[in-house]
C-alpha cells in the first residue's frame, strides 16, 4: 500500500497553520521536528491528571507521575533495544548527554589518552572534549571527511592508536545527511579496546534502533528531533560502563544516603538524574517514540528518499547549468538520510532562508554548529532542508519554486 502522507499530516496540527495566508512548508526537521496529536495529548493528559514530582511522594499523583516517568524510560529502552531500562539516562538533550559522558567517563582519562572525533561533528560533540582536554590533558584526534561529506575510513585507520580510549562520532551528519559506517568504527575501536559513542541526534528520528547490534557503548539523542518535546534527551550506555562512572551533578534524587561526612549514590540511571527531572517531557518523549515505532519503516524510508531525490533534482533545475549551486554532501541517495545542504555562489544562506520563509518554507541557514566541516568545504555556511515523514511533494515543489525566486532576487 502506498504511504498515506495526507493521513500522517493530519496528525500534526501545526502543519495546517499559515502565516498571512501562506501555508507552512516545514523543512527544518533536523533542528526540531513537529509533534503529532498523540504526543500533544499525552503531555496534556499527564499534566492534567498526573502532575507531581517523581520517585519520592506516596500520594496518588506522585505514584502516577513515577509510573509515567519510568514507563517512558521503558519505551525509550524498547526503541533503542537497550538490554534494560536502567541503561537509559534522561538528560535535557543530546548536548547534555555527551557532556555527561565527558564529565564522567571522561574524568577517568588522563594525559596522553586520546579521544577520536570526526570532521563531521556538531559542536556539541567537539567542545565537551576540548573542555576535557583542558581539564585532563587528553589529546583530540580527528577522522577526516571525504569530498562527499562522509567519514574518510582511510583516515580512520590512521587515526586509531593504542592510546585511543574513545571514538565519539555522529551516526548521521547534521549537515550532509551521510550515514556513518558504524561497523567500521566499532571494528577499528575494538582493535585497541576503545569505547564508541554515537551522536544519534539525526538518526533517532528515522526509526527504532538496535544499540546492542550496533556494538557501540554510548548513544545520545534529543526528544525535540524525534517528534517529542524540548528539554528532554537520552543517554544510553552499557550498564557496566554506567555503573563504573562517577556522578555528574549532585542533588536530590541521585543519592542513597547523605550525611555531612559522606554521601552514597543511587544506582544507575538515577545516579545521573539529579534534581526534579523533566517529567512531562519524558512522558512526551515516550509517546513520541511509541508513535514513531508504529510507522511502517520501509514505507517511510521509500517516501523520504523519493522526496530527497526530488529535492536534489530541484536544486539542479534551479541552478540552470550555471554551476552556482553546490550540494554539500552526497549527491545520490545511497547511505544517507533526508538532510540536504547546499551552498550557492553569490547568495548567503541567511538571505536565502529569509526569502524562503516569506513563501512559507522553513529551512535552516548557517554553519549548523559544524564550523570545522564548513572550513573543510570552504564555505561560511549552507542552506539546509531536512525532511520528516509528514513532508510531501508539495513541500518540495514549494521549496524549489521559492528558491528559484530567491536566487533571482539575490544573484
Amino acid at each position: 500500500m502506498a504511504f498515506d502522507v495526507a493521513r500522517l499530516r493530519a496528525e500534526f496540527p501545526i502543519l495546517a497553520t499559515a502565516a498571512a495566508g501562506v501555508p507552512l512548508h516545514y523543512l527544518d526537521n533536523g533542528a526540531t521536528s513537529q509533534m503529532p496529536r498523540a504526543v500533544l495529548d499525552a503531555i496534556d493528559r499527564h499534566e492534567t491528571t498526573s502532575r507531581a514530582n517523581v520517585l519520592r511522594g506516596v500520594h496518588r499523583l506522585a505514584e502516577a507521575a513515577t509510573a509515567a516517568y519510568e514507563g517512558a524510560r521503558r519505551e525509550v529502552a524498547r526503541y533503542v533495544n537497550a538490554a534494560a531500562p536502567a541503561e537509559i539516562v534522561f538528560t535535557s538533550g543530546t548536548t547534555a548527554a555527551i557532556n555527561l559522558v565527558a564529565r564522567t567517563f571522561g574524568e577517568q582519562l588522563g594525559a596522553g589518552d586520546e579521544v577520536l572525533l570526526s570532521r563531521l561533528e556538531h559542536h556539541s560533540n567537539i567542545v565537551p572534549w576540548q573542555l576535557l582536554r583542558d581539564r585532563r590533558g587528553i589529546a583530540i584526534k580527528v577522522i577526516e571527511a571525504t569530498p562527499e561529506g562522509r567519514l574518510d575510513l582511510d583516515s580512520l585507520d590512521r587515526s586509531v592508536t593504542p592510546r585511543t580510549r574513545l571514538v565519539a562520532v555522529t551516526h548521521v551528519s547534521n549537515v550532509t545527511g551521510a550515514i556513518t559506517d558504524v561497523g567500521a568504527i566499532v571494528a577499528a575501536a575494538a582493535k585497541v579496546g576503545a569505547k564508541v559513542l554515537l551522536d544519534g541526534a539525526q538518526r533517532a528520528p528515522h526509526g527504532p534502533l538496535d544499540v546492542q547490534a550496533l556494538g557501540v557503548d554510548f548513544y545520545a539523542f534529543s526528544g525535540h528531533k524525534v517528534y517529542g518535546p524540548n528539554g528532554i534527551g537520552v543517554l544510553w550506555g552499557r550498564r557496566a560502563l554506567l555503573d563504573a562512572m562517577p556522578p555528574f551533578m549532585g542533588g536530590g534524587e541521585m543519592i542513597r544516603t547523605v550525611t555531612f561526612e559522606k554521601t552514597t549514590y543511587a544506582d544507575v540511571p538515577h545516579r545521573f538524574e539529579a534534581g526534579t527531572p523533566p517529567i512531562a517531557q519524558a512522558v512526551g518523549l515516550g509517546a513520541a517514540l511509541a508513535w514513531a515505532a508504529r510507522l511502517d519503516g520501509a514505507a517511510v524510508e521509500s517516501h523520504l528518499m523519493d522526496l530527497t531525490g526530488r529535492l536534489l533534482d530541484g536544486l539542479q533545475t534551479v541552478d540552470r547549468g550555471r554551476g552556482l549551486v553546490r550540494v554539500i554532501g552526497p549527491s545520490g541517495l545511497q547511505a544517507r538520510m533526508p538532510v540536504v545542504s547546499f551552498a550557492v555562489e553569490g547568495a548567503h544562506p541567511h538571505d536565502i532562508s529569509q526569502l524562503l520563509d516569506r513563501e512559507g518554507c522553513a529551512v535552516r541557514g548557517g554553519h549548523h554548529c559544524a564550523q570545522p566541516l564548513m572550513d573543510f568545504f570552504g564555505v561560511a555556511g549552507t542552506t539546509r532542508a531536512s525532511l520528516a515523514p509528514y513532508n510531501d511533494r508539495g513541500d518540495i515543489d514549494a521549496f524549489v519554486g521559492a528558491l528559484d525566486r530567491a536566487l533571482e532576487k539575490l544573484l
Partner: protein, 139 residues
C-alpha cells in the same frame, strides 16, 4: 514602512561593495565574527589627524551585512569616532526599540525593516562592532 528586508537600495549597496578591500598599511584593524552564522567583517582604518581617514572592509556575509559594511565605511570616512559611536547607538535603537533615526547618516534608515527580525540584527551591527573595535585600538 516597508517590511521588505531586501529593497533595491539594500541589494544595490551589497552589490556595489563600496569600500571593499584592504588597506596596504592600516593604522588600526579589527575583525568581528557573528557566531550565529560564521559571518566575518574586518575593518581597516587609516587616520587623518584626529579624525578617520580611509576605511576599507573585508566582508564575508549576507546582503544585510555587506550593505551595512559598505554604507558604514562610506559614511565614516572623513568622520570621527564620536560620529561612529552615535551612529551605532542610533542603529541599535532603531533595530531593538523601533526608534527613528536622526542626524546626518540618514541612509542607515534603510535597515529599519530589519527591526522585527531579531535574528538578523547582528547582520547589520557586525560591521559597526568591527569598526568600533578598530577605532578603540591605541594609535
Amino acid at each position: 514602512m516597508s517590511d521588505d528586508l531586501y529593497p533595491s537600495e539594500i541589494l544595490a549597496l551589497a552589490r556595489d561593495a563600496s569600500h571593499a578591500g584592504r588597506l596596504a598599511a592600516p593604522a588600526a584593524s579589527a575583525t568581528a565574527d557573528n557566531p550565529l552564522c560564521g559571518d566575518r567583517v574586518t575593518m581597516d582604518v587609516a587616520f587623518a589627524g584626529s579624525g578617520i581617514g580611509e576605511i576599507r572592509h573585508h566582508t564575508r556575509g549576507c546582503v544585510l551585512c555587506k550593505a551595512a559594511a559598505g554604507l558604514l565605511a562610506a559614511k565614516a570616512e572623513g568622520g570621527s569616532r564620536t560620529q561612529v559611536a552615535v551612529a551605532e547607538a542610533q542603529v541599535r535603537a532603531m533595530l531593538e526599540q523601533g526608534a527613528r533615526l536622526h542626524g546626518a547618516w540618514q541612509e542607515l534608515a534603510a535597515f529599519a525593516p530589519v527591526a522585527p527580525h531579531k535574528s538578523r540584527h547582528s547582520c547589520v551591527l557586525l560591521p559597526f562592532r568591527a569598526l568600533a573595535d578598530a577605532l578603540a585600538k591605541p594609535r
